[in-house]
């Protein structure tokens, strides 16, 4: 982390960048927040550790409109999002100085809490520099520990890899964290009966409070104005907000990002209700891979998204009926 701060200061001071986009220390030890730093001094609050899950690429949409370059810290998975935004002309490559930061898997405090650990005071082992396998946790009730892997976000268990797809320079080591089958959860649902599937999603989706956190954090949901907020589909009307929007929000949102979603997992990470929203996106990814050939959004800037492409011998929609 120190190397990162030193380099950021250097780039600020020599005028290469006008600001730094990173994370700052939050109110609690496990909730650092995305932040802009405009002076070398303000970097004292800069932090980069296992809890810095937030994908900063979406902030580059606004940063691209500012004077001068912005130094942005991107983890390997964040670079896919950045590339996708680049493909969609939403960010300006020339306005970004990308430092690819190392990643050892990002942590989810909820997972730690689920193991029964309460009253967390501080956590060690989450630092970016140490290759720690166990987290030592100081709690109001004494010292506890938790395996690093058990505290990782779902998305890190199915990590796309430690390679940064786009960067100006790299700082820090990354490690492979993938230890689960990416589509296992989707397959599990696919294997259910229609009644079970419906019950599963009804249960999950009834938790939704329409706080829009998923939409706000999603780098693919980068529309200036969401269709749900515009009058183009009548969905902004009071009467329809009550019905159409609410009923169909998550399906439509997933469809809108289909083929563009990099599976960054931010939607599930930020959902205050803990809805596994990534299951919608990942289903589309799985279908696209199976039906139209492997495709990873953001792996390459400028690639043609599967829904804006076709083959003459693509499967017919009736294949859905045949696929069990």
């Amino acid at each position: 982390m120190q190397e990162l701060i030193t380099r950021a200061k250097e780039l600020l001071e020599n005028g290469t960048v006008a600001r730094v986009l990173g994370w700052k220390i939050g109110d609690l030890p496990y909730n650092p927040e995305p932040a802009f730093f405009e002076t070398a001094e303000s970097l004292d609050k800069f932090v980069y550790n296992g809890f810095c899950g937030a994908n900063l690429s979406k902030y580059m949409i606004e940063a691209s409109k500012l004077e001068g370059k912005t130094l942005v810290c991107l983890k390997p998975c964040d670079t896919y999002s950045f590339n996708q935004l680049l493909t969609e002309h939403r960010v300006d490559r020339d306005k970004a100085y990308i430092i690819g930061v190392g990643c050892k898997g990002k942590l989810d405090v909820e997972k730690i809490k689920k193991t029964g650990i309460k009253g967390i005071v501080s956590i060690s082992g989450a630092e970016a520099d140490s290759a720690c396998d166990t987290l030592e946790i100081d709690t109001l009730y004494g010292k506890k520990s938790c395996a690093y892997g058990d505290a990782m976000l779902e998305r890190c268990h199915v990590c796309k890899g430690k390679e940064h797809k786009i960067y100006d320079e790299l700082i820090g080591e990354s490690r492979d964290t993938a230890d689960k089958e990416r589509f296992a959860e989707v397959e599990m649902i696919e294997a259910m009966s229609p009644e079970e599937k419906f019950a599963f999603f009804q249960k999950e989706l009834s938790k939704c409070i329409r706080c829009n956190a998923c939409r706000n954090v999603c780098p693919a949901c980068s529309c200036r104005k969401c269709v749900f907020d515009s009058n183009k589909f009548d969905s902004a009307q009071k009467a329809n907000v009550d019905s159409f929007e609410e009923k169909m929000f998550h399906i439509i949102r997933a469809f809108h990002v289909a083929g563009r979603c990099t599976d960054c997992g931010e939607c599930s990470r930020v959902c205050p209700q803990g809805i596994p929203l990534h299951l919608f996106n990942r289903k589309f990814i799985k279908d696209i891979d199976e039906l139209y050939g492997d495709y990873t959004a953001g792996a390459e800037a400028g690639s043609l998204a599967p829904l804006t492409d076709f083959k003459m011998d693509d499967a017919e929609p009736s294949i859905v009926n045949e696929r069990g």
Binding site: H256, A305, T308
Partner: protein
């Protein structure tokens, strides 16, 4: 709020028999926006249309719903009626209560109920209709023909004769195309050059035709009536204005080992060359890959011998930008590569040749000066075997699934010509089917069999095996006699499948013209619009659209020309107002829409916008209304819903959905 009038047609008893029209009128009156409803025997009659006009005045109508037959039948009629009554024609919607209702339902209650719902949906839509105005675009009265074969030449001549300027862009140094390589033509056995050369000369001499030979289309922008095209004139290294075409440079050129393209590689040409004697223009080009001067810096003999001083080694490619109102694709064809057909030993033996190579062998200006001889040893052949459908009608991906159409006829021609000139030569043709539809075609084929004694064997050849004695052992089957045939031949001629010119894909992309799986350009309608591309202003001539013989090509070339003339004769084009439109404040500028647009109608501009007080420059999609055909692909691709289609807007369709599901 709209003031809508609903007019329910009885269509005699066509509608009234199974739809209670009075009831429909009654019910629809209470729909929001409806201020008038009536029924009439025949709405499409003059009296019916007059009722619309009267009601528009009396009730100050702003929108109209006609419940009648299919909009495909009378939408235009009622739009015009509305226009006469002073309404915008696009304020009319049709509820199809005949084809989609009265004609298919027997029960009057059921029919009436459905008719009411269809009327309701139309009313809901009209409530959201807005006046639309067709745009106008200008027409540049000049046409471009890509390809200078017989198709391109004929199209250009016909356009020019109608009084319009036309440019031909030809990739090779001369116009003439494949037809110039042919010896004789079926079914009359005319000498190909004798009938083609005058046309080439006409094209070159025509005051309305400009030739760009040794040139390629590099970039196309614009749309119907107003295309801008960059043409790359490749450096010839010979000044066309000075060159007298004396040919001395070609004679003296020391580099004479380059396979001649014109002779299908069967003979050689010099590094400075005109492809053939009657080439137009008769100005050579220097092939820099073969030229000693370009390769080593030494030589320069051509420059020394050129009395006119036409040789200029410093010449550079030149880009010419021209404007056109219409573009004709006439890029023609080539024979397929035979690399996947090892069984015919084409790559192993010089005596296995394609039919097009045989044309050169038979031609007096060809590599053998018209003597039929084996290319391996120059001996006169006694046994010739023709193999049909090599790569045509092929079910695997080695060849092409289609019939190349011309092979049956040219093989009959070859067989006949050989038997005529060399009666001692035996000719055997292995065929799957003999296909001879065409005027005087079957008669021609039968002459080959009956009068010239050509031996036709129904069956395929499995293998051609070159023998140590120089002969070719042909293993085939005779399906009619159900026996295997082993034949020793001196020559084997392959009726090789034809395929569109390799460059056509690149050109189609530039023109946003669609292309099929076999790389043939797609016509706007297979039956009714065979010479137009679905892309407005792009026309098709010759084999680029599908296999054709010369008479068909010439007919199609003429048809394409008249379509071009019909377009160029207009001063202005009216554009369909039902096009896509991007809401500037919603557009992300993400390019998703442009990726699905089949017409290249969407471009992006950096525009100054005022988004509720925020002023900024944004990348925004701009639809060219002259190019957009209104399919709506972009509207669904657009994630933010910024793209919408006039006449079929999201809100209009949703209103219809809601009305139907109510």
């Amino acid at each position: 709020m709209q003031r809508i009038g609903v007019f329910v047609c009885h269509c005699g008893s066509n509608i009234a028999a199974t739809v209670d029209v009075k009831k429909v009128v009654e019910v629809i009156r209470s729909e929001p926006g409806v201020v008038h409803a009536e029924d009439y025997q025949y709405m499409c009659s003059e009296a019916g249309q007059e009722r619309i006009a009267i009601a528009v005045k009396e009730h100050k109508l702003t929108g109209i719903v006609v419940c009648s037959c299919s909009p495909r039948m009378h939408e235009t009629t009622f739009r015009k009626a509305a226009e006469r009554a002073g309404l915008n024609p696009y304020m009319v919607e049709i509820a199809n209560i005949r084809e989609h209702c009265s004609w298919i339902h027997k029960d009057i209650n059921e029919g009436t109920e459905k008719a009411v719902i269809l009327a309701r949906a139309a009313v809901a839509k009209v409530n959201l209709n807005t006046p639309l105005y067709p745009g106008e675009s200008r027409v540049t009265k000049r046409a471009l023909v890509i390809g200078g074969g017989i198709a391109g030449i004929q199209t250009a001549l016909d356009i020019a004769d109608a009084g319009y300027e036309v440019d031909i862009v030809e990739k090779t140094p001369s116009i003439g195309g494949i037809m110039s390589q042919l010896d004789k033509t079926f079914p009359t056995l005319d000498c190909s050059a004798c009938i083609l050369t005058p046309k080439m000369v006409d094209a070159a001499a025509h005051e309305k035709i400009k030739l760009y030979t040794y040139s390629e289309v590099e970039k196309v922008s614009g749309f119907v009536g107003d295309f801008t095209v960059d043409i790359r004139k490749k450096a010839r290294y010979v000044d066309a204005d000075k060159c007298t075409g004396c040919g001395l440079c070609q004679e003296k050129c020391p580099s004479k080992k380059t396979p001649s393209e014109f002779n299908r590689g069967l003979g050689n040409r010099s590094a400075i060359y005109t492809p053939f004697a009657q080439a137009i223009p008769n100005v050579p080009v220097i092939d820099t890959d073969a030229c000693i001067k370009f390769k080593t810096g030494k030589c320069g003999l051509c420059q020394k011998v050129c009395a006119a001083g036409a040789i200029d080694y410093t010449q550079k490619d030149e880009i010419v930008t021209e404007k056109y109102g219409a573009i004709v694709v006439a890029t023609g064809f080539d024979t397929i590569k035979l690399d996947n057909y090892d069984e015919y030993a084409y790559n192993q033996s010089k005596d296995v040749i394609t039919s097009l190579e045989l044309e050169r062998v038979m031609n007096a200006a060809g590599p053998t000066h018209g003597h039929l001889e084996r290319l391996s040893d120059g001996k006169a052949p006694k046994e010739i075997v023709f193999i049909q459908c090599v790569g045509s009608r092929c079910s695997d991906d080695r060849g092409k699934p289609y019939c190349s159409k011309i092979c049956c006829m040219y093989t009959a021609k070859h067989a006949m010509l050989i038997r005529d000139k060399y009666p001692d030569v035996n000719v055997t043709v292995f065929y799957i089917d003999v296909r001879t539809p065409g005027k005087n075609f079957d008669e021609f084929y039968r002459r080959a069999v009956e009068q010239y004694g050509v031996n036709y064997v129904k069956g395929q050849v499995g293998k051609v095996i070159p023998q140590p004695n120089g002969k070719l052992l042909v293993q085939g089957s005779d399906l009619l006699d159900n026996k295997q045939i082993l034949k020793e031949a001196d020559m084997v001629v392959l009726a090789t499948a034809i395929e569109p010119n390799k460059d056509v894909r690149k050109i189609a992309t530039m023109l946003t013209a669609s292309i099929d799986t076999n790389n043939f350009l797609t016509e706007a309608h297979a039956k009714l619009r065979p010479v137009e591309s679905p892309t407005a202003g792009i026309f098709l001539s010759g084999v680029c659209q599908g296999p054709k013989d010369i008479p068909e090509t010439v007919s199609q070339a003429g048809a394409a020309a008249i379509k071009v003339v019909g377009l160029l004769a207009k001063d202005k084009l009216m554009t369909n107002p039902c096009t896509a439109h991007a809401d500037e404040l919603l557009c992300n500028g993400c390019s998703t829409c442009a990726n699905v647009c089949p017409y290249g109608a969407i471009s992006y501009e950096d525009k100054q916008v005022n988004d509720h007080g925020i002023r900024e420059t944004r990348r925004i999609a701009v639809v060219n209304n002259a190019l957009c055909q209104g399919c709506g692909a972009c509207t669904v691709a657009c994630p933010s819903g910024a793209m919408d289609l006039q006449g079929f807007s999201n809100r209009q369709i949703l209103a219809e959905v809601d009305a139907i599901c109510r």
